[in-house]
């Protein structure tokens, strides 16, 4: 019997039932997180994560962490406040990654014939691990929002560069310069995705000595701090049993 069960005074049978309940909730919550976080991710980050030729140095490192952090913050809020479980961010992101891999392989590769490398997802698991670790060690919402939120965004680009750098190698095609990622977009037909729809490399960030990616990452860090706070309070607002009082 674990120290936790001893501390709560559970007998063996109660502890067993409690453990079965744990697994039941874990499985249900797992599917819930995979489904709902994935839906949230597809509807917000969407094309920036679906396609190689959307992963630019300006919008991709800005949009992805900012739109992704609300969910882990909300789950952290629930799991930490009520259970002292510092795994909310990792649980969310691992669930999301599982969901994304299932869809990339089935919907994109098997169903619609896109090669897997064209639709490789970005990963945010390192950011989530750091976010959970900061929450546990601080243990403060404010510190986590500032240090964790900022780390969440700042780690995103260097985490994913080892996966995607090789697609930024230049090639010459029809007399023009392209990255390999651009070439994928040119060759692999997408009737509903003309080149002009890509929201990449717009604005004047790149005029800062071509340092667009770090600038985007720092701006994302600032926004992540704010979005983390919002996500935390959303989680807190929904983690209530007041609707169950009449049951």
């Amino acid at each position: 019997m674990s120290t936790i069960s001893v501390s709560t005074g559970f007998d063996k049978e109660t502890a067993t039932v409690s453990r079965i309940y744990d697994y039941l909730i874990l499985v249900l919550a797992g599917f819930l997180y995979i489904g709902s976080y994935h839906l949230h991710f597809m509807l917000t980050v969407g094309d920036w994560d679906f396609w190689l030729d959307w992963k630019d140095r300006q919008y991709w490192p800005l949009v992805t962490p900012v739109l992704m952090i609300a969910w882990p913050a909300a789950v952290q809020s629930v799991l930490w406040t009520h259970f002292r479980l510092p795994m909310g961010a990792t649980l969310s992101v691992v669930g999301l990654m599982l969901g994304m891999w299932i869809t990339r392989v089935t919907a994109y590769q098997i169903w619609t014939n896109y090669p897997l490398n064209f639709v490789l997802p970005a990963t945010m698991i390192p950011s989530a691990l750091v976010l959970d670790a900061i929450l546990m060690l601080s243990p403060s919402f404010l510190v986590t929002a500032i240090a964790g939120g900022a780390s969440f965004a700042l780690l995103f680009y260097p985490t994913n560069w080892p996966i995607f750098a090789m697609f930024h190698v230049p090639i010459e095609w029809q007399g023009g310069l392209q990255t390999i990622a651009d070439q994928f977009g040119f060759e692999y037909l997408r009737a509903g995705m003309p080149e002009y729809l890509r929201i990449i490399e717009r604005g004047t960030l790149r005029t800062y000595g071509q340092m667009a990616a770090p600038l985007s990452a720092f701006f994302a860090a600032l926004l992540c701090i704010l979005v983390y706070a919002a996500g935390w309070y959303i989680g807190k607002a929904f983690a209530t049993v007041r609707y169950l009082k009449r049951v």
């Binding site: 670790a133 900061i134 080892p162 029809q174």
Partner: protein, 407 residues
């Protein structure tokens, strides 16, 4: 028992329903409003180099578009457009694309009233039979499909290769390039993420922890071991991330950002305005599926001309009295006997003549073009082709309001 019978009966009915369905092959090419298909880019001379190709073989699509002068007011002007291919996914790959003989890698602005000639080289990838259209995606307008043709790809998909050469001379296969590396990194992080979850899940979770938090014993729930692990994470994760970043930078020192430019390709040289066609009145008779146009045509050329063809929304109405090559056009877009011209005479140099043109065929309904009368902008547009005795073609873009006739 009744419920069980009802369930079995419903299941059989549903199964029958699913088994009786056929595969959908269309791409919604007839769904775009007719006024967009008739009055934005007007396709002509579209040709496919083959109707059967083997995996790895090439299919070339060529053709022209006229950008209609009467561009709909409800649509912004075509400041960015992208010549595409409508197909069920990447069954073909687009290997080359040319507009007016210039490379077209990105998007380009189109000039209203002008013509563009295109060529696309596609490489067959996945065996099957597919309906292949050229199309023009136009910013804030949509995807305007050209005519489509069935093309069969034969052979073995596993034999497909797609090699390209980088500027450093390295030959890579786009089908597999970078996949293993990406999967490896994802697996590494997934394993670490799952390990962190298992670290917590192996202990009792919800009920006892909730009870202890409520009793004010939350400090007991995080042990010194947990804290040490978290500290290790705070050190190890950034170290792995930054090491990966710098090692990658040394592996790929020459990378460039994604390219996002606009191709500036001039239209085809403007033709002399030798034929002026102006519609005086146009009606569409719904039960007869017939369009009538009273057109005043002025021949300012030095040649005697005759009306040969009216084309709109990729559909071709052809004057059967003339010998016009329509062999490259799929039959569903052809109304070979649907055009009547009164008087079907020659138009002499300098002559102005009012001609009644009837364009009648079920294709108005089949291609959903007749519903232009239900559009908010119920004008139609198209191209009128006239020919001289040497076979030279004179193009005139026409458009007018369309009056419906309900009986």
């Amino acid at each position: 028992m009744k419920l069980l019978k009802l369930f079995v009966f419903s299941s059989i009915c549903l199964s029958g329903l699913f088994l009786s369905t056929s595969t959908a092959w269309a791409h919604g090419e007839r769904s775009l409003e007719p006024f967009v298909r008739m009055r934005t880019v007007q396709w002509y001379d579209v040709n496919w180099s083959a109707s059967t190709v083997a995996v790895n073989d090439e299919l070339t699509i060529t053709g022209k578009v006229h950008v209609a002068e009467d561009w709909p007011n409800s649509l912004p002007k075509p400041e960015a457009a992208y010549l595409g291919v409508i197909a069920p996914g990447p069954v073909f790959l687009r290997k080359e694309r040319w507009i007016n003989g210039e490379a077209h890698l990105n998007s380009l602005p189109l000039k209203v009233g002008r013509d563009y000639e295109f060529k696309m080289k596609l490489k067959a990838r996945i065996p099957g039979r597919y309906h292949i259209h050229p199309s023009f995606n136009i910013i804030d307008t949509g995807n305007v499909a050209g005519p489509g043709q069935w093309v069969e790809i034969t052979g073995n998909a596993n034999a497909f290769t797609n090699n390209v050469e980088t500027v450093k001379g390295e030959m890579i296969n786009l089908e597999t390039y970078g996949t293993a590396n990406g999967v490896r990194w994802h697996m590494l992080w997934m394993i670490l993420g799952i390990a962190w979850l298992v670290w917590w899940v192996r202990r009792p979770l919800f009920i006892p922890r909730y009870a202890m938090v409520n009793k004010g014993e939350e400090d007991k729930l995080v042990t010194p071991k947990d804290k040490n692990l978290a500290k290790a994470i705070l050190v190890a994760v950034p170290v792995i991330v930054l090491s990966g970043y710098f090692v990658t930078n040394s592996q790929y020192p020459e990378t460039i950002p994604l390219q996002a430019s606009l191709d500036l390709i001039p239209p085809l040289p403007e033709q002399a305005d030798l034929v002026n066609a102006k519609i005086k009145r146009a009606t569409y008779n719904i039960p007869q599926r017939s369009m009538m146009m009273m057109v005043e045509i002025k021949n300012d050329s030095q040649k005697t001309l005759q009306i040969g063809e009216f084309t709109t929304g990729s559909v071709r109405f052809i004057n059967s009295n003339m010998n016009i090559d329509a062999s490259h056009t799929p039959p569903e877009y052809l109304a070979t006997n649907g055009m009547q011209i009164e008087p079907n005479d020659l138009i002499h140099p300098g002559e102005a003549k009012v001609v009644k043109i009837m364009a009648s065929d079920a294709v108005w309904e089949i291609e959903h073009l007749s519903s232009v009368i239900g559009d908010a902008d119920s004008r139609f547009g198209g191209l009128l082709f006239l020919f001289d005795d040497q076979g030279n073609r004179y193009l005139s873009s026409i458009s007018a309001s369309l009056i419906p006739e309900y009986k």
